[in-house]
Amino acid sequence: MKRFLLFSILNLTLFLNMTFSQSNNRIVLKSSELEFLIIKSISDIYTILPHLDLYTIDGYRHTTLLNSLYNNAPSDIVLLINGTKTHYGVWNKTNLSQFPVNPSAIDSIIIYTGPLLYNGVFTSGVLIDIITKVPAEGISFNFSYATGNETGDPGPYRYTKFDSENVDQLGPYTFFSGQYGKKNFGLVYNLMHHIIPSTDMSIIKRSPGYNFYNHQLQYINSSIIISDISELGKHELFASYSMSGDAVLGSIYGADLIYIDELSRELPYQNKNFILTSGNLIEISPDADLLVNLNLNYNSVNQSKLSDEFQFNSDDLWLYSKVGYQSSLGAINYLAGTSFTYHNMQNKLTDFNYSRSIPSVFTSLTAESIKNMTTRIDAVLRFGGNSSGMFICINNELIINEEHQISFSVSYDSLFNIQNSFGYRIGKGYTFNNEYSTVINSSHSEASQTSLNLNYSFYPDKSTSIAAGINFSRYHNFSFNLNDFVFSPEYNEIVNAQSELFEGVNGWTGEFNFSITNKISKKLLQKLYYRYISAISDNEIFEDAMKRFPRHRLFYSIYYLPFSDLSVYMTINYSSAKEWIEYRNITSEGDEYYNSRLNNLFLINCGATKTFWSNRIKISAAVENLLNTKIQHHPVGGSFDLTFFIKAEVDLQSIIRF
């Protein structure tokens, strides 16, 4: 009974501490919030992040809308683990679903929308830093298994005139984690395995050269995290090896897929990836620290055995180091440092071998400029051919009193994420054994962006926070490929009927956002978020290109803890219609799969988690798309029906103590 009370208090405390931390472009998701959701893979956090503009073709792989929009301004997701950059991803696509960390081992996730500098790491897109938990003392184990089923099978109607295509189950997602912890030291071993079928008809219909049926993706990863706190400082090591496509368990072979925006088609591949990162915070003196981060990432992408359309190999090696010094100079706190990135690309089939070195210097200065006002200046300079550029941001935060806060920031950058797209490789001489090598226009003209942000936060009481903000961004000298993708019934694939490169695309966007977080009671929390965004420009191409961003987005979530061993949640997501100009002619008569205009999205998800045996066993169930409306995030992407998920987790903390 005593233990039960202890766990009840712990649960309640976690719930009360759950905050929706958001300032300007920063969101922090704490484990106490994540525990409400049915996290099958880390990308499930996107379902509660309406602040991010992403698209997905298959529900498993996500990309930022900005990343594929302008070909001289790559802006995908930059992933960090415990503050260290990982260069995780295949080419310019980062699949958070496969990021090698067990969701139950996550303490918090810090999300920023760029452009910004975060501890010396720059991103023009989205930055996600995954902070892992410190292992409990002794030896602990965690095992979880999650699976789902998209509704819409034909059932017994298979043998009637109402026959329809089969839909598959999603997953299973299996995780195992073994942990050892003692004072100031932690060792975590993670093993994860995914099985993902790709049987949506929108993908199958345009992929005649690849048989998806019965060839689910298999993904397996093994990783370790070692953390140590010594007199020198804090040290962390993360090492991971993963394989996708080639079966390790069982005999079913399936390919991983990457969606090539420039071609509007999937490329089946198999992948081997090795990551080694080391993050170190070394105390030089009581008020001075040295940050030393290292990353090695080797990524080998090969042609799938199931497709001979593309014969290719692509091996990427990334070496990254960052050294920063943080201290204070009078009233000014500063972080200054340098980073160095080395990238080597090879195609062993064609002797293609290209290397580049990208050094940069950065600084962040923070000081109380006037009473109650903190000024922060971030700057970074990057060198290295097409990747060179600069970023500067001045941010002021004024605390008027306990209830009112105002922040204002202005930033300018001619810097974007490091080019690593399919088109970039082609531009550097990378070739495939077919005509696709020659169809991509690419531009490397220098683009720039200027942003103005004004945010106001109001805390009427301890349980409520209200925030409102406006943002204006100026896009200058962007390059846009105006493709004309159409479906060819003759070849059963999407072809680009015409491509025209527009350079010097300029324009403004204006955004207004508003959010409320309210703890109705100790057991009930609700959040509301609204955003309006619009292009302000007389440039027709810019205006048309920006129509893929929904003008209105409304998000509501409610979390309820009726008992210490039961939690329930519901999210409601609304987005207004979207249009993709390069797919303006994709819709054909009688075609239910491809749509140039994506109608309003109205999505309701809900779920519940029941715990047993003093929180050691958790059983969760969730329903996505409760109203079973047609949900589509991309003109040629899959549509998602009502889907049911179930997850079982066994969490044995400190079962052996020393």
């Binding site: 233990r3 039960f4 089923n149 509704t151 819409g152 099978d153 034909p154 059932g155 017994p156 109607y157 298979r158 043998y159 009637t160 109402f162 329809s164 309820y560 009726p562 008992f563 061993d565 039961l566 329930v568 519901m570 309701i604 809900c606 519940a608 029941k610 047993f612 045996w613 003093s614 066993i617 169930a621 329903v623 409760l626 109203l627 079973n628 029906d641 009502l642 049911f644």
Partner: protein
């Protein structure tokens, strides 16, 4: 759409349903039941059902009765071109009992799980994949429970079953059953802490 709204309302009210506290004595209930499908819709132009049988195992928890069940029911084809099948319903269950008399309770709850269609009567089914179809299904359940003795109960319930096939299947059942209640062993009580 109407059904979707009903489902939404149910989920909205679900938390309110579970906040009523239960007694601290944990019990296990084992029940067997017979079910009859009594509605008629387009599904019944292709198949008719025979009475089915099932069993349920549930545990008393703070939130109400939670457990799992299985029901088997045969559906015979009416149209020659289609196939007969056994409907095997595997589900998790939740029940809440509201006392309206010393010996009578009002029962409300829901089930969710997988409804499996096992085609059985045709020689042209060659592979395992052709023999089975599975789909997510939910049931909303309501009825009455009558106490026969300290540990025996009789139940009369009706249920709405929604099977989420592409062409949705909606079945209504009338079910009678008998339930035996046991006191939970210590290890099970600990499990539910």
């Amino acid at each position: 759409m109407k059904n979707n709204i009903c489902l939404l309302v149910f989920f909205l009210f679900f938390p309110a349903l579970v906040i009523v506290a239960q007694s601290e004595d944990r019990t296990i209930s084992l029940s067997i039941n017979a079910a009859y499908n009594y509605n008629e819709n387009e599904f019944h132009d292709y198949w008719n059902s025979t009475p089915g049988a099932g069993f349920e195992l549930s545990f008393e928890d703070d939130v109400g009765e939670i457990g799992a069940g299985l029901r088997l029911m045969r559906f015979n084809k009416i149209v020659e071109s289609t196939k007969s099948f056994y409907g095997v319903d595997y589900y998790f269950l939740y029940r809440h009992y509201f006392s309206i008399h010393r010996k009578i309770d009002f029962v409300a709850g829901f089930d969710f799980g997988i409804f499996e269609f096992r085609f059985d009567d045709d020689v042209d089914i060659k592979t395992l994949a052709e023999r089975f179809e599975r789909e997510f299904a939910i049931k909303l359940v309501t009825g009455m429970s009558f106490s026969l003795s300290e540990s025996w109960k009789a139940e009369l319930t009706t249920a709405y079953n929604h099977i989420y096939t592409r062409k949705k299947i909606e079945l209504f059942y009338l079910s009678v059953g008998i339930t035996k209640t046991f006191s939970a062993p210590a290890w099970l009580k600990e499990l539910f802490e």
